[in-house]
Symmetry: C2
């Protein structure tokens, strides 16, 4: 024990999460001191927006100059909470070079540059912790690295974006259409004014890249992750899913297949009696399957100031305890099990297809013929609503497992059929 | 880094879990070496049953003398897996006194003597890790201590005994009676020949005592935990629960109320749409509510050789990494927030009562009168099956919140009523 007077934190970013960290450091100071054995002091806080000075109880620690904060020799731990790739990545690098321990919630930087930054932290014998970057307040990365590390992990199935899960839940429970549910999510602050990042699966792609990298000991970047959003889903998809015994969720999935991995984000049909199907609203869940552990699932709040700030401060406490006891950080093992990320075209799943066709005899035969040409066999085809005026009908087809490439080619060919008015949606079936 | 040639393990107990540990140490040797930076070697393995020597690939490390194993100066980490209070507790103590790090899965020793043993380990600067003692293969104690430590935890709701959850699931899904479901569980190896420990809630009481001690920083022992088993539950309780929108689970519950805590194990009605209601079969789940984290839930296999051995080996790896890097173990904080464990009589819940009454006018009035005398108000009373031969009827009463003491007194008085043939079951309602 080489207890010191205090351990000093420099915080970059005083937005929602940053203010949450400030609040916890203030309100839980006694408990934190007891855990660490030393005071954990907010020595400096940086933000470009000077009005955010007001979130601090001691505004004299405020600065607009993040670099001076990082280079301040009194700072032991830098907490980076500005988000986005630039300049956050440079700040984290500079902090490591200055010998500071780093805590970050930055999924984009971790997903794009995690392996290099972790290796760099290892070389400089500092810790780089990022529990808050995936799953907000849910402990995930710690258990994955610490308790499940010797598992041969075969699959990760996650509901990892609260915005889209909220929208899908509202569509399912209230019969809302996508646009109305999105508007509601925006008015509640669950979705941003420009919701692209969440809706189109970019956010989930970052997060699954981080988890898959750790779980498979393989360097997986966001560009490797196929992603498709939820904006094409309509209220009747939920009705049909329910009739067929499924729920619709936006899943981020990673699987290991011998020397390859799958990494993809898209809406899926999942059986409505499994636990993931019951994860509603803004909640997140991460299910991990390992050869020893079997299925393990972690569930909780994937966003929000308090849950996220909680795990950030917990990471800072862990680093402070190590500073205090003279313990070194365990360097991250290199993610050097080279595995190919399987192209989406080669992935095989079952499919749900909803389409509008001419309401006349022989149409289904024409459709099944096309599917047959691509070796796609049908497990059920049900005619749903009929519109007498336009002489059209909606049909729902469930297929047996087929290759994505074959399915996409079949879809294009079916779109060319005169009797097919519209292919309204294609949703993959998982589990 | 002060890398050594190898780090040596002494394993006491070569039963199901112990053999699982041996298997993992063999089969995952390369991965473990990579994690630790040094070989992790099974230097000695003790069991009183000499035939278990055969589970070892190198039978020369076998001994029947656990104490000589503990005192062997070559051993760095002792893994205790014999279970039960004696002599396991003495072995753990002796190992700590000999300066060995200890990993154990022993819920009974931890629940009864955890605080002393952890303090002792702290004094001797060794680690005492026990992730496997609660929730088998689910990472729980690590996340609770590391990621959720600064939360003010208000409640823990757990399905923490796989045997009883399997029995209840079979009763619910297949309409089995308790005896038949128990027999099935026994034939599958999910229940022991003498199932008392599981069925009557002793096992769950140990586990919730361990979790509550950590979560509330308060020394809670198994004797403080009220426990009631599942043997009184009948198939019609499941039918009625379903009609009313509930599932029946054996929960282990701990709650904080100002300066007091609740700690209890008993069957409960829980709303059938919450996540805990969907935890079926031998699976376990632990839900923790904290002021910062909100609700967090951990789910997975609570028993079984592989999942449990997995977290045991992970604990050993953690200790070995610290030995290797010269890091000291973080001493456990004392569980010194003194809180009174609230007696069961003072706890307030809602109740489900199933009883058989004489099928004649005015009976319900007599029953509600007795309940009213104890200030227990009824939220619904439904007459179920009627037996014309015996002129009796089964009724189900749901109450508003009432004190346990009042309810028990009312039950005794109702049993004295001539029109009450039998009070068949009383189940508390949670959530």
């Amino acid at each position: 024990m080489q207890n010191r007077g205090s351990i000093n934190i420099g915080l970059i970013g005083l937005g929602v999460i940053g203010s949450g960290v400030v609040k916890i450091l203030n309100e839980k100071a006694d408990r934190i001191t007891r855990q660490v054995g030393t005071h954990l002091v907010l020595k400096s806080a940086a933000d470009l927006d000077e009005s955010r000075k007001d979130t601090l109880s001691d505004s004299s620690v405020f600065t607009t100059d993040a670099l001076s904060l990082i280079e301040n020799p009194d700072i032991d731990i830098v907490i980076e909470l500005i988000g986005g790739e630039t300049p956050a990545k440079d700040y984290i690098k500079e902090a490591i070079l200055c010998g500071k321990h780093v805590v970050t919630a930055n999924k984009e930087v971790l997903a794009k540059h995690g392996p290099e930054l972790l290796a760099m932290a290892g070389e400089h014998r500092v810790g780089l912790l990022y529990e808050a970057s995936v799953g907000g307040g849910i402990p995930l990365i710690g258990p994955l690295k610490r308790n499940l590390q010797i598992n041969n992990i075969s699959a990760i199935h996650t509901i990892i974006n609260g915005t889209t899960n909220y929208i899908l839940t509202r569509m399912e429970k209230e019969g809302l259409e996508f646009a109305a549910a999105l508007k509601e999510a925006q008015s509640l602050g669950y979705a941003e004014a420009d919701p692209t990042n969440d809706i189109e699966g970019f956010d989930a792609a970052y997060k699954i890249a981080i988890l898959a990298t750790i779980a498979f000991h393989t360097d997986i970047r966001p560009d490797d992750v196929f992603h498709e959003g939820i904006s094409r889903i309509a209220s009747q998809d939920f009705r049909y899913a329910k009739e067929l015994g499924y729920a619709i969720k936006l899943l981020a999935i990673a699987k290991k297949e011998n020397s390859a991995v799958q990494a993809r984000v898209h809406p899926v049909f999942i059986p409505d009696d499994i636990l993931l199907a019951k994860v509603d609203g803004v909640f997140n869940a991460v299910q991990i399957e390992g050869d020893l552990s079997g299925k393990v699932l972690f569930y909780g709040r994937g966003a929000g100031a308090e849950p996220t700030a909680n795990v950030i401060v917990a990471d800072a406490i862990h680093l402070a305890q190590n500073i205090n006891t003279g313990n070194s950080e365990k360097p991250e093992l290199p993610f050097d099990e080279r595995r190919i990320v399987k192209p989406m075209e080669d992935i095989e799943t079952r499919y749900y297809i909803r389409m509008t066709i001419a309401d006349q005899p022989g149409v289904l035969a024409q459709i099944t013929k096309v599917l047959g040409e691509y070796s796609i066999s049908i497990s059920s085809a049900i005619q749903k609503e009929t519109d007498r005026t336009s002489q059209s009908a909606e049909i729902v087809i469930m297929t047996h497992p087929a290759k994505e490439q074959a399915m996409q080619q079949a879809l294009r060919q079916m779109e060319g059929l005169e009797v097919v008015r519209e292919i309204s949606n294609l949703i993959r079936v998982e589990g």
